[in-house]
Symmetry: C2
Subunit: 270 residues, 2 copies
DNA sequence: CAAAAACCATGAAATAGATCAAAAAAAATC
DNA sequence: GATTTTTTTTGATCTATTTCATGGTTTTTG
């Protein structure tokens, strides 16, 4: 199938599930379609890994179907932007697979990663004029894209969706406040331990031995997230490895060998 | 007037405005009424300095009057808590005068001030089980206190109030993200300059010469807010004074002599 | 209003983390 | 699949900020 044939208009006529399958296959095979072409109808939500956690989970039946047709599935390759801080808000996104970093840049190039977003997480604002950050894929990523006005409309009709969005915003506030403690008062070891612990707990595998965490992002992303330099991140990870708290089979994978000790280190109890 | 006479029940029978006047007078005169007594009916909103900015500004007429009767005006003296992080959420607050610090404490005593709240600002959460932070007065402070369930009820009926709360939450997120850049990537000078610039811009006096800022909080609160030590805060303020960007007539007052230079320093352009 | 306590400013010393440098490993490109 | 480029790791040095210490102010309290 040529990329021309995968144009949105044409895709709208085809079976949704079939299309996403094609999409993902073409994507995985590494074909470098131009960015504007990588936009497809959203396939049904019941088979979607992100749905349960995502904002769309607040809708059901017809309302959900209707909402879904307003969205587009979009593919973003490593390093590509979803949008920039300076842009007017037009869409908001839900991450389906992969991961996105949210960045703020100072004029001299210093960068702060404000957060990472993965499967089921929301990216982007829904009101106010401009986005609050640059959003970029840290690895090949698939997102659902919805026009903000559709969200607004849907929210007027659905108290469930309103409640869900409020809850998401509240969690965002809570997370940012926690991160504030980390940035302002924690040591490098505490920072890295907290970061790894948080990623581990996202996997819902607490209690198990040898929790395997994937670090989709590079060391410099971690550094800019934790307010450190790349060198300090690298050294600190090495230190945790030397202390047998973690294993590091590859730069993008970490195995937590002692989750309790990791938790102890994260809160600076030792 | 005795404190007994100022009991809430009795106060309910009196004229609201009269009561707040008494309240504030008694408060200013430094009388040390027990904390449980410092709770009064809320006087009418039209004469309230905080109302325009506060969440209650989204209500009008009868709805506002009704809501007001559900609240209490409360006085908190320097250093006294409004609530602690460990407490179940029961009330949320609007600051009428004075200022409140929101803190997170690590087990070994390290502290991060997550934010300050002043006239018109909201303090406290409205859902989830526990508060996210300790809230304490940094100077003598007056707040309005509302049960969270009243807010919930009112929100069901008032789309305006829902919208207002969402906007407040969005601003909170935006502010926290900005603070994240400051904590993760800015130098002490940039941090202090940003802090002073932000406080100046809250006063809506931009463009004027010699903007007078009051620092209700102590140096250690500023330090814990900016991720610095008291000593560095003190030294950095002295440096800005030496460079004639600010004057420091007293420890709790700063006069901005060169707001442009302050802005330049805040973003690290120099 | 005087004594005590808390707070603020500043100097000297110590150090944690940054910067600089270079090799090793991994990923991207032709 | 070999070559270039980027990323990661590790070592050595340096410096900005913290820590420690002290004196001067301001604020609190009895």
């Amino acid at each position: 199938m040529t990329y021309e044939a995968m144009d949105v208009q044409e895709n709208l006529l085809r079976n949704d599930a079939e299309i996403l399958e094609d999409t993902v296959t073409a994507f995985r095979s590494g074909s470098n379609m131009p960015a504007r072409k990588r936009l497809y109808p959203v396939s049904p939500c019941d088979s979607c890994a992100a749905h349960k956690k995502a904002i769309c989970s607040s809708l059901e039946g017809q309302a959900l179907d209707r909402f879904r047709t307003k969205g587009r599935t979009r593919i973003i390759k490593v390093g590509e932007p979803l949008f920039f801080e300076s842009e007017d808000i037009r869409y908001f996104y839900t991450v389906i697979s992969g991961e996105v970093r949210l960045c703020n840049i100072l004029e001299d190039g210093r960068r702060q990663v404000v957060g990472f977003r993965s499967c089921g997480d929301k990216v982007g604002e829904h009101f106010g004029g401009k986005y609050l950050y640059d959003a970029e894929a840290v690895c090949d990523t698939i997102v659902c894209q919805f026009p903000v006005r559709e969200l607004e409309m849907q929210m007027q009709q659905s108290p469930e969706m309103r409640a869900k969005l409020m809850k998401i915003m509240q969690e965002e506030i809570s997370e940012l406040q926690q991160h504030t403690i980390l940035l302002g008062r924690k040591t490098p070891i505490e920072k890295i331990a907290t970061f790894l612990k948080n990623r581990a707990s996202k996997l819902n595998l607490v209690g198990e031995e040898n929790i395997e965490i994937s670090l989709s992002m590079g060391r410099s992303d971690i550094a800019d997230y934790l307010g450190l330099t790349v060198e300090t991140v690298s050294r600190t990870i090495s230190k945790l490895k030397a202390e047998k708290v973690i294993d590091v089979p590859s730069a993008h994978a970490v195995v937590v060998r002692d989750i309790q000790q990791l938790a102890v280190l994260a809160d600076g109890k030792k």
